[in-house]
């Protein structure tokens, strides 16, 4: 199973690398290959389509102005489940693509316990054991995995309704579907913030595929060590020294 998945991912990455390009420049590292970026933006699009078409159904007295975007209420209702299915499809491929990098470790537990320092930005450098993904990213990833499973099950129940699954199943699903959506909505703000203005230099990893070496040794030192073979702390100190000597 594990090898079949990684063989599939390998093939997909190779195929997508032939189609798209990774724009990695001087002093930069490749973080996300074309395949990962393609999946990310595919399900990102599906997520927002599902989110906005769902808003009008979630709280119509406040969000009814969303439904005309999708051609009116009946069409938003008809398309919302398909957006959701497409989201689950692309995100499912991303799970296969990322599941190895997302495996929970002791370092992640320590990262989560140390969350206060991350939020208050008191430690400028991540602990040296932080790998390709940090604990926070893994928490969000697994939340979305769990949320998608809830979405899929409750969504199918809501899709075919009480005439198929009975009254109780529908109103229970209705609440769980809402809760899952609210958690993801809260999470998406944090995700967008941290990948753009919250941690400058991150956005490029999902556009060009590349991040600067400084970004890598600051936020994901263990990954930096893995791909460059150099010590992240040493690399940082060298850079700091050369900064000083050049008078900047």
């Amino acid at each position: 199973m594990g090898t079949a998945v990684s063989r599939f991912d390998q093939k997909a990455r190779a195929a997508f690398d032939r189609i798209g390009t990774n724009d990695v420049r001087r002093d930069e590292l490749l973080r996300h290959p074309v395949y990962t970026r393609f999946l990310h933006w595919s399900y990102a699009l599906c997520f927002f389509l599902a989110l906005f078409s769902g808003f009008g159904i979630y709280m119509p007295w406040l969000f009814r102005w969303f439904t005309p975007i999708f051609g009116g209420g009946p069409l938003s209702r008809a398309m919302h489940p398909w957006f959701g299915v497409a989201f689950c499809f692309f995100f499912g491929l991303q799970i296969l693509n990322w599941v190895r990098d997302m495996r929970w470790t002791q370092a992640d537990t320590r990262w989560v316990k140390n969350i206060r320092a991350v939020v208050s930005n008191s430690e400028k450098l991540e602990p040296p054991e932080t790998g390709f993904f940090n604990g926070g990213q893994k928490v969000q990833f697994w939340e979305i995995v769990a949320g998608s499973i809830v979405f899929l099950i409750t969504g199918i129940i809501l899709w075919f309704g009480a005439r198929t699954f009975g009254r109780t199943a529908v109103w229970v699903s209705y609440i769980l579907h809402d809760i899952s959506a609210l958690i993801m909505l809260g999470g998406i703000f944090i995700h967008i913030y941290l990948s753009t203005i919250g941690e400058p230099g991150t956005f490029g990893s999902m556009i060009r595929g590349a991040v600067s070496e400084a970004w890598a040794w600051t936020f994901h030192p263990a990954w930096y060590r893995e791909v460059t073979g150099r010590d992240p702390r040493q690399a940082y100190e060298e850079a700091a020294r050369s900064r000083e000597s050049s008078g900047r």
């Binding site: 009946p74 930005n121 609210l182 970004w215």
Partner: protein, 296 residues
């Protein structure tokens, strides 16, 4: 309803703000009284319903009972539910109940509906579906404790008995009432019908030996605008599964009106949180940072 009145809306599904025109004129609360003890199961009401609402007669199955079909359909809103009930003493009783929308005072379908104006309740108590506003989500099906709304897969809309709002709005009784040959169906104001129903139930108890006879007007949905006289009001389930205590799921009352806005606001805190983080703590930058250039 001798005087002609426009139907005034009282409640509108998923509508922001008050219902327009509310309280402009006084309106009777109308009511359909169904006396199951005098129903002979002739199905004239079924035919009248199909005729008036201009629906084709759909094919049906014969299941060895006096029931036309197992359930109401999107184009068959009115069905006599038949039950051959064996009493404790071994005698047999045929129970006939006219099954259709109950036009609840607190309609579960309307509470569940997320489409503005797809379900309206008039001040006279009639609950009506407006198919042009329906988005076909079928939440009303799970909101209704009487299993009434029916989904049409082709039009992707739900349909049900309108209590002939088009006739009532023009001072006429519903088609089923007009067709009933035994007088087991009556139509008038809610107060009058409730009074007649109670009188009839008392008569059944006092003179016909139906000790448990009573009126079915469930208060768990605020009363209904279709009420029954039953031989045995303690066992409404016998009458084709009439719920003893119909309930609207709390997800359509508590969750929808209270938890949704509150929890929705909570998830917006994510946005507020990151913006506050940006202006107070500031972003995390790759190290070493460029120190701000001194102005010369």
């Amino acid at each position: 309803m001798s005087d002609r009145k426009t139907l005034q809306t009282e409640m509108i599904s998923a509508h922001p703000g008050p219902s327009p025109g509310q309280g402009v004129q006084r309106n009777f609360e109308v009511c359909k009284l169904i006396d199951t003890t005098t129903c002979i199961g002739c199905k004239a009401c079924e035919v009248a319903c199909v005729e008036w609402n201009d629906m084709p007669f759909s094919e049906t199955v014969f299941d060895n009972t006096y029931q036309t079909m197992p359930e109401t359909r999107w184009n068959y809103w009115n069905l006599i539910k038949f039950n051959e009930h064996v009493r404790d003493d071994g005698t047999v009783q045929w129970l006939m109940r006219k099954d259709q929308c109950m036009h609840c005072a607190d309609p579960g379908c309307l509470r569940a509906c997320p489409a503005d104006g797809a379900i309206v309740k008039y001040t006279n108590g009639i609950v009506d579906f407006q198919q042009e506003n329906c988005i076909g989500c079928e939440f009303c099906v799970s909101g209704c404790p009487f299993n009434i709304p029916r989904f049409n897969k082709t039009t992707k809309k739900v349909y049900k008995c309108t209590l002939c709002s088009d006739r009532v709005g023009n001072g006429l009784e519903p088609a089923c009432i007009k067709a009933c040959p035994t007088g087991c169906l009556k139509f008038g104001s809610k107060a009058d019908m409730a009074f007649i129903a109670q009188e009839r139930a008392a008569q059944l108890r006092d003179h016909f030996g139906f000790d448990k006879a009573g009126v079915y007007d469930p208060q768990s949905v605020g009363g209904t605008h279709v009420i029954y006289v039953l031989h045995d009001a303690t066992q409404p389930e016998l009458y084709g599964g009439l719920p003893r205590e119909p309930r609207i799921p709390w997800s359509y009352t508590l969750w929808k009106s209270l938890a949704k806005p509150i929890l929705g606001t909570f998830s917006l805190l994510g946005l507020v949180g990151v913006l506050l983080h940006y202006v107070t703590v500031g972003p995390r930058r790759p190290q070493p940072e460029d120190t701000p250039r001194k102005e010369n």
